[in-house]
Amino acid sequence: MATRNFGAPIRRNEDKRLLTGQALFVDDVELPGMVHAAFLRSNLAHAAIRSIDVGAARARDGVVAVYTAEDLGPYWAPGPLLVPPPPIAGSLFHQRTQVPLAKDKVRHVGEPLAVVLAQSRYLAEDALADIVVELDPLPAVVDLEAALADDAARVHEDLRGNVAAHVRQTRGNYAAARARADHVIGRRFHYDHGASSPIETRGIVANWDARANQLTVWDTTQAPVFLRNGLAAMLGLSERQVRVIAPFVGGGFGPKIMLFYPEEVVIPWAARKLNRPIKWIEDRLEHFFATTQERGQTHDAEIALTRDGRILGIKDVFLHDTGAYNPYGLTVPINSQCTLLGPYVVPNYDSTFTAVFTNKPIVTPYRGAGRQHGVFVMERLLDIAARELKLDRAEIRRRNFIPPDAFPYNNEIIYQDFAPLSYDSGNYEPVLDKSLAMIGYERFLAEEQPRLRAQGRHVGIGVTCYVEGTGIGPYEGAKVQVQSNGKVSLATGIGTQGQGHFTSFAQIVADQLGVEVADVDVVTGDTDQFYWGAGTFASRGAVVAGNAVNEAAKVVRQKILKLAAEHFECAEQDLEIADGAVSVVGVPGQ
């Protein structure tokens, strides 16, 4: 069976709908009787809540309901820990997760205090101004080092300080390596905070149909299955009663896989309570403090080298800003800790991080999910080493690459998937060589750069090498079906935020079943269409879901061949599938 489609350039199945404005995004959902939500959010980073008076807001014309933490009753609870900490000996972890609406205190600007439900978003925003909140400001914990001082204000008072986690992982013996080294370089590196800012902000529409006993939720989530499971549990419903749909989503980039955001927990509850569909769309201003962020680390790193630039060991002590809560466990700093090692032989490694609670929005994975922090530190150390040892920057990297015959290569320390960080394969030097040739590295350094410098222009070139662990488990699934009308459909549990799944997965099915790519009808991210999975994140969709699609399609292919063989009374090997039909090889008309 030749691979006709997979890997060939192709037009996307989904483009026509997107180009003609016919693709459904969450804010496009319109339901009869729908009410609109707006959240009142703290404008202080850290404060005790003395009182919240929603009387005037409730009395405003057009307002349907106003809720605070108290109104949620026993439903109010801190969110679940999404990723438990990996089993690393000696590590410390304090779980403190976000709450649906603030109670007693607020811990970051933007933390929701109350929700208004009204006939329109316009009216809901009017009513926000009616709510009277008395907050007693507390000192804001912002700087990572100051946060660890004994007298620092505490983000979570039931803890002794602001340490959210402390993890040390080692390999070999760094102290001994340092003692042997010809050259040691130490530096401090800062990596600043950032927001993902997809052009589509977050949003949710929840519709509780009391007569059908069914909750339908449209959400800009990257993980509809997990959301369905969690909402069903929280609301005391069976999973079958909850349908989560991630329709077309305007960019995810990570923060849309954070789950059980306050709004995601409150809106479905309110929909059931009011028995009305409710829509909440995050506006751009809210996005900057209501959606999770990333970055915010300070590294004190040291590299010990031989005089010819070979790494003997690295030591890194870093602080990680986890924000006011830590629902995502240790994923981000563990990624930093592990990805620092890169494609290099680092025989001795001593890495310690302290995750710190601060009065800032929560930090969860965003594009890189902490890996880039580790890469930044390693690559800067190597660049500095190259300069001090008078080596070319590409050369120092070459000297430290894991050689191609050393795979699988075990870095020993524990990665975010709870297993020791092991690279299954790699052949790095030819990749570097090819990249350098393609960009004209030698010529740039020898000719272009000096020429530009003589003109007073400082133009540089950067070289960075890293290894990214993708294809994170645990699993994904797919259902491939040949319908009674001969059309092929595919459903998988992950969602799509622009990755092209409607086409790439169709290509996989088309190759197995001999149909046109454009004839494979693909559904992603609808828990009624496919019931289980994890989500779209960490560069895993094509690897994990794609393989599930392929396996499912193979089974269907076998069924087709078996049925056809019975029909034609021939052997399966005599059959071929192409252009949507099964035929007997060499026998026209069959």
Binding site: R121, E125, L285
Partner: protein, 292 residues
Amino acid sequence: MKPAPFRYVAARSLEQALQLKAEHGDEARFLAGGQSLVPTMNFRLTQPALLIDINPLTACAGVKKSGGQSVRIGALTRYRSLERDTLTARNLPLLHEALPHIAHPQIRNRGTIGGNLAHADPASEMPAIVLALAGRLRAQSVRGERWIAAAEFFTGALSTALEPDEMLTEVELPAAPSRSGACFIEVARRRGDFAIIGVACTVELDGDGRCRQARIGLCNAGDGPVLAKKASASLNGGKIGAAEIAEAAALVQSEIDPGGNVHASKDYQRHIAGVLTARAIETANERAQRGH
């Protein structure tokens, strides 16, 4: 981010618009292009009780020559019209050169010069240009009308000399004399962002090639548009060469008081002001020598 409630009136005439403004004063705002006003309303930073839409007043838009030496631009003239207008290109080269730097094409399709000047953002290009050209602005109200010199019009960040019942209806700028040159340069982090610093420079030469008058204006260099008086005066009376340019650039750096912001520190703004001034004077001078 939805605006607070307001009443809306589409003005049928200038008289009606002025009448409503006189009745409501600061509680009413004129809606022209809306490219500055509506964002502030969506953020609820501005909550007028009444919005007077003056877009229907097409008589308040347009460019015409006035008295041979001046050009009058209606306040409601959109940037896009100015970009395409040949009178503007020929007679107001300084303004013409600045137009592509203003925001983005979609903003320029709606934004008006009057709206921009009345908004008086210190980082905006138009106030600096109007100040550099020593223009004057026409304010009308039910009480009558008056012309306000540019130097008196801009009174601080986001504030002008307009009374609560006045509307800016026209701006008059001197047509570029022969044997003069103009240059507008700005540096911004990205195309369309507010300038880190913008410099507007005109140079007028006499028959012997000596500078008769130079004017240097800057945007984002203070809490309003800045006219660098000392630097401008330093160029008058002599030939403009490298030494004179360097001195003028240094004077500009000492005359301005930039505020610094997240995009650029005060020191950087000051440095850039010097660099851009030097380039602008040199270019304006060359153009003056070539005859525009």
